[in-house]
């Protein structure tokens, strides 16, 4: 969990709900009922929360890592970027027909009134992918690039499987066409969001309007403002995390109904001290699998 102070400043949901324009919840009438619901990450038992390695397997693993001096920062990219971070990004806008929406999904589909479609889920997930990418880019290249690669590989693999099993598309050719389209959209939105991030809120807002809000003429600008504050808030939190914390998967997206207050220098120092105590215990004893060369200061 993120250990930042939440206080009463700009709640994203409050900004969005503040609008006097009544927004109809997004509909999902045309979405097919999935024949088979995919697990959040994969069918592998190692990615389920219930699986725990037995003691001897763990000890053997630690011995193996220690003996061969494996670079755990490279190894960790898969379980962290493709499992923890992709799982979080996927869940933000995940919805199924005739099922109750999660809290974050309810923000997108009920509060913002976005359509409950697969393409919209893709847009929400891709936005969170881009947010994470910005932070991954600030890691040493060797590791950050690997994290990005693992995330995007899982993202597209999962989309392909979801299209086949949950959207009930049996034609490989049609799935392939969709995948190409999503690939082009990803390249476009990463460019647009990066431009917005590096310039100003107005450019970021127009990028969000074109992508997340599907270029709707009747967009509620209050909703657009809420999303600009949401994106800036996530990036602020990410900028305050050290490479080590981020690399170990300690980041969680701030929910739209939570708030982050800018930190004072004293608070920042306290957080750094806390992170150091978590990753570098006074005893100096760290398991081989927990070793890392990622910085705790930057």
């Amino acid at each position: 969990m993120i250990y930042l102070n939440y206080s009463t400043h700009y709640y994203v949901t409050d900004i969005a709900k503040h609008s006097p324009i009544v927004t109809a919840p997004g509909s999902n009438e045309k979405n097919p009922i999935p024949k088979h619901k995919r697990p959040l990450l994969s069918d592998s038992p190692y990615e389920s929360n219930e699986t725990k390695l037995s003691g001897w397997k763990e000890s053997f693993g630690e011995m193996f890592i220690g003996l061969f001096r494996l670079d755990m920062d490279r190894v960790r990219a898969g379980p962290v970027a493709a499992s923890i971070y992709y799982g979080q990004a996927k869940q933000q806008g995940l919805q199924y027909p005739n099922e109750e929406l999660s809290e974050t999904a309810s923000f997108y589909y009920s509060t913002l009134g976005l359509p409950r479609t697969f393409a919209q889920w893709f847009q929400i997930t891709a936005l969170h992918y881009w947010i994470l990418t910005v932070r991954m880019r600030a890691m040493p290249y060797k590791y950050g690039h690997n994290y990005q690669q693992k995330f995007v590989d899982r993202f597209f693999k999962d989309m392909e499987l979801r299209l086949a099993e949950e959207m009930n598309i049996s034609s490989g050719r049609i799935i392939g066409n969709y995948m190409k389209d999503f690939y082009h959209q990803t390249r476009g939105l990463v460019l647009a969001y990066d431009e917005g991030f590096a310039t100003n809120d107005a450019t970021l807002a127009t990028a969000l309007w074109r992508n997340l809000f599907n270029g709707r003429e009747d967009v509620d600008i209050v909703h657009l403002e809420a999303m600009v504050s949401y994106v800036r808030m996530q990036l602020y939190v990410l900028s305050k995390m050290s490479d080590r914390e981020f690399g170990f998967g300690k980041f969680t997206f701030v929910a739209p109904n939570e708030i982050v207050k800018p930190l004072s220098q004293a608070e920042e120092a306290k957080l750094k001290e806390f992170a150091r105590s978590q990753f570098e215990p006074v005893s100096g004893k760290v398991l081989p699998s927990m070793r890392s060369s990622l910085s705790l200061d930057e």
Binding site: Y10, A138, A202, E217, L235
Partner: protein, 146 residues
């Protein structure tokens, strides 16, 4: 202030939007200017009134292959005074960079990323047309990843 007055102020704010560096499928500035001109009762210019989207071959094929859905055109409904005011105040906050300033990221940690320090400089100079990528620099990016 009347809704028409506020709509005119929104249009003035939209005018201040930075020019788009790339041509996109739709322009926020153009679409919203038209929307609020309708609210303010201002006549559209000939350029604004003309349809912008060019139909591609794919669009034509789609119409031939699939029966197009009957488009239900919703009649224009003017926004209430409260609604217009909220649109104005949100747009003003966006134009004033409120959130970029509030969530200020010091030390350029993310804008000069360690893994790819020139990423944003190269991106913006390319978009602004200041320093175009050459074939060699593009090939280098593809091969080395940055």
């Amino acid at each position: 202030m009347s809704t028409k007055e506020i709509s005119k102020q929104i249009i003035q704010l939209l005018d201040r939007l930075p020019a788009e560096r790339l041509k996109h499928y739709s322009s926020f500035k153009r679409v919203q200017t038209i929307r609020f001109k309708k609210e303010a009762g201002i006549a559209l210019t000939a350029e604004e009134a003309a349809p912008t989207e060019k139909r591609t071959l794919t669009d034509v094929m789609k119409e031939v292959t699939f029966k197009p859905e009957t488009e239900v055109k919703t009649p224009f409904v003017a926004l209430t005074a409260d609604a217009i005011q909220s649109q104005f105040s949100s747009l003003k906050k966006i134009m004033d960079n409120k959130y970029q300033k509030y969530y200020h990221i010091p030390n350029d940690k993310l804008l000069n990323p360690k893994g790819n320090p020139d990423y944003y400089t190269r991106l913006l100079s390319e978009l602004n047309g200041e320093n175009k990528e050459t074939k060699m620099s593009a090939a280098r990016t593809v091969i080395f990843g940055r």
